[in-house]
């Protein structure tokens, strides 16, 4: 039972100062420019691996814990022989040429050191470039086909009504995840996210095949993606409603996972311009470069990105730092635009994380959620439930989740991640999820129609709070623009966390492009997206 009223986004409820809004966007553009320049002049090991995967390189070498994915081996060998400054694709397709056009054979030969990559010259170079270009076009076709295929399936089985109820599964075992995800879909989930095993984000490779041994999450692998997408397609047919699948294009392998997501028709991806920096201590240069590439893939694959601003409020105070969420959203929006994402693909994240003991907590959450709704009228906002203040009191926690759903309903949030009453205790039980859906069905059914009815007192507490957060955001962006993005992060301006430009994991994988850098996949992506590479 949803509601009698169709979903809509209530706007114009708070008299937002359009001047401040415009200034925030200008500041974000100003801040993003040098970072985008960085991305345009660098590549990373993971971007090169992603491109190899897209043109068909896959598989592993070795077994068990010793296993190394072939894309890693190939990029490592190219790096060691000719270097990565001019990209991996030309040397790779040169090898392909010498293997009679067989991509697998070339990859195996390089990985097995039977063939040493070289930078071809003259006609060889032109041949490799032609091959690379053709393969890139095919790869990019395949990504674009994901978007078309999704549209087709949705049209055939039926689209889910908004808001989309989003649930996570996290057993660690894909075979246990599948029935749980199907059960959740049957009970009303519109989006399933398979949480990753702790630590995957720090792996500088993507595990291979179906997996069953994650901790508090299941490894993101291409095979796991495929299995879950198929399971959800099956249940979607049964239900007459397309069930979306989400994973994480985040961590050291962000570009590769984005590529896998494109190939396996995932629908949404967690993908943030700063999450890895703040929460995984991944080097900031690496992150900014990787996110640009991965976003181009998402853009073309019709994937909705989900940004991670909600996480800020787990480390910082949700009242004091409300404006940092908004500031990061303006930045994520800017970086998304420059990577070719449309507004309707920007699942900007925010969260209901104010301490329930704070007086007027519900009023404040409403003000924040409505403000964000008004700032991004065309974005499918992703609204995250309370986590930090969830305790072992599952009854009270169930109620917090209900108030979260209510604020979501009243402010027209598009993607609603359902809270779990046991958030303070363990990764969700099957029944936790079922109860969460019942909670959401009740609240959305009962209150979504109210969203259209509510007005707030002009100059009242809700409006004043919203204006204050927007103003604090403007001031923050001003400061970031003054000192630059890197310095701002170094000053701990986001998530109360301090990171240095050369610190964190993965800097070694960042490579400045040399003048002759060639990446036909990236080129083709930007061409089709109509953006500068």
């Amino acid at each position: 039972m949803r509601t009698s009223a169709p979903f809509f986004r209530p706007l114009g409820r708070l008299r937002i100062d359009e001047g401040v809004l415009a200034e925030c966007r200008e500041l974000a553009t100003e801040i993003a420019a040098p970072v985008d320049h960085l991305a345009a002049t660098h590549t990373t090991t993971s971007i090169e691996r992603a491109c190899l995967r897209l043109v068909g390189v896959d598989g592993i070498e070795g077994r068990g814990v010793e296993a190394v994915p072939i894309p890693n081996r190939v990029v490592d060998e190219i790096g060691a022989s000719v270097g990565l400054e001019r990209g991996a694709l030309i040397p790779f397709f040169d090898a392909v040429a010498s293997c009679g056009g067989d991509i697998d054979a070339a990859a195996d030969a390089i990985a097995g050191r039977a063939l040493t990559p070289r930078w071809p010259q003259g006609a060889d170079r032109d041949d490799a470039a032609r091959r690379a270009k053709e393969a890139a076009a095919a790869a990019v076709n395949c990504i674009e086909a994901a978007a078309t295929a999704r549209r087709d399936v949705v049209e055939r089985v039926g689209e889910a009504e908004r808001p989309w109820l989003y649930l996570i599964v996290a057993t660690g075992d894909i075979h246990e995840d599948i029935p749980q995800a199907q059960a959740a879909a049957r009970n009303g989930a519109d989006v399933i996210a398979v949480i990753r095993s702790t630590g995957q984000s720090l792996l500088d490779y993507v595990p291979f095949g179906a997996t069953s041994e994650g901790f508090a999450g299941t490894y993101a692998t291409q095979e796991n993606f495929r299995l879950m997408r198929a399971a959800l397609d099956e249940v979607g047919e049964e239900l007459g409603r397309y069930v979306r699948l989400t994973n994480y294009a985040s961590g050291l392998c962000m570009p590769e996972i984005a590529a896998m997501a494109g190939m396996e028709r995932l629908d949404m991806m967690l993908n943030d311009c700063m999450y890895g920096i703040m929460f995984r201590d991944i080097n900031m240069q690496r992150t900014f470069i990787d996110q640009h590439f991965s976003r181009m893939v998402h853009a073309l694959a019709g994937i909705v990105i989900n940004t991670g601003e909600d996480n800020y409020l787990t480390t910082a105070d949700a009242v004091d730092s409300a404006h940092t969420v908004l500031a990061s959203q303006f930045l994520n929006e800017r970086f998304a635009f420059t990577a070719g994402l449309s507004e309707e693909q920007m699942g900007l994240g925010h969260a209901f994380e104010i301490d329930p003991d704070v007086p007027d907590q519900i009023l404040l959450e409403l003000a924040h959620a409505q403000l964000i709704r008004e700032c991004f009228p065309n974005a499918p906002l992703k609204y995250m439930p309370p986590t930090k203040h969830m305790t072992g009191n599952i009854f009270q926690g169930f109620l917090y989740d209900g108030m979260f759903n209510l604020i979501g309903a009243l402010t027209g949030q598009d993607i609603v991640l359902l809270g779990m009453m046991t958030e303070g205790i363990h990764t969700p039980f099957l029944s936790d999820r079922d109860l969460a859906l019942e909670n959401a069905r009740y609240i959305f059914g009962g209150a979504a129609g109210l969203g259209g009815e509510l007005r707030y007192e002009a100059g009242g507490a809700v409006e004043r709070r919203a204006a204050q957060v927007l103003e604090e955001c403007r001031q923050m962006l001003r400061k970031v623009a003054d000192i630059g993005m890197f310095a701002a992060i170094e000053a701990g301006m986001f998530a109360d966390t301090v990171r240095t430009p050369a610190g964190g994991k993965g800097l070694a994988g960042v490579v400045q492009r040399a003048p002759g850098y060639v990446n036909p996949v990236a080129d083709e992506l930007s061409r089709r997206l109509g953006i500068g590479a």
Binding site: G392, I425, F429, L430
Partner: protein
């Protein structure tokens, strides 16, 4: 499905169960240990107190998660599977006609001090329950709804007066086992009056379970969410059996309840 059932939290066989209870002790590490010990006595391996809340100086409330060591063999359970068929409306009327050659007379009442009539009304009145019409809907039944707070003596008198075939007793209040006590009273009064055996004696209420019938001397007891059509089917089936109708005749066009 495996033979033995174990609770399922987020993995097959993990045995996870959630408990909550109050202990009459102030909150302290000792109180927490007492809660854990209680859970262990219930058969929990590695119970966890996830919430301990002081309620005044004398009590603490606990929420505990743990993995139970117990399992259940579902095949080994004696389940009071519905032994009567769910009959379509016209069949109910037909069976009563064939069996009695007159209307079936039903006396219904909430006995004792129980004033919760909604459950009984849901079964008896035309309005019915959950989209299902009540017993009054069947033309071959005559319903005498005595309402609430009816004493056993009044029920006996009504059975006499209306020459009832069936008595339906509702009980909603269960504190101090009031519902058990009141059904026993009705049973005793009808037995004393020598009426028990010629009656179909049916009880009902949200906290009953069907397996309680034999111990209370009732023919059948219905629990939470009972639909009137189930009760109608049961009455027709019972009356038909008593009249010697064949099982095949009785279950014509029936689905299993």
């Amino acid at each position: 499905m495996s033979a033995l059932l174990r609770p399922y939290g987020d993995a097959t066989g993990d045995g996870r169960v959630q408990l909550s209870f109050t202990l009459p002790i102030a909150s302290s590490e000792r109180a927490r240990q007492a809660a854990l010990e209680l859970a262990r006595k219930m058969g929990f391996a590695e119970p966890q107190v996830v919430h301990m809340k002081e309620m005044g100086p004398d009590f603490s409330f606990f929420i505990v998660y743990g993995a139970t060591a117990h399992s259940v063999d579902p095949a080994g359970l004696t389940v009071a599977e519905p032994d009567f068929p769910l009959l379509p409306s016209p069949e109910i009327n037909r069976i009563i006609r064939d069996s009695l050659k007159r209307q079936l007379v039903v006396v219904g009442a909430c006995t004792g001090t129980d004033a919760h009539t909604l459950g009984l009304d849901a079964i008896l009145s035309m309005k019915g329950f959950a989209g299902d019409k009540g017993l009054e809907y069947w033309q071959e039944m005559r319903i005498v709804n005595m309402g609430a707070q009816v004493s056993p003596g009044e029920i006996v008198a009504a059975v006499d007066e209306h020459a009832a075939d069936a008595v339906l007793v509702s009980q909603v209040v269960t504190q101090r086992d009031a519902h058990i006590f009141h059904l026993q009273e009705v049973h005793a009064a009808l037995t004393e009056a020598g009426l028990r055996d010629r009656l179909i004696l049916v009880g009902g209420g949200p906290r009953f379970s069907p397996d309680q019938a034999p111990a209370l001397g009732f023919d059948r007891i219905f629990g939470r969410g009972t639909k009137p059509s189930e009760v109608a089917s049961y009455l027709a089936w019972k009356v038909g059996r008593r009249a010697g109708l064949s099982e095949a005749d009785l279950t014509r066009a029936a689905t299993l309840a």
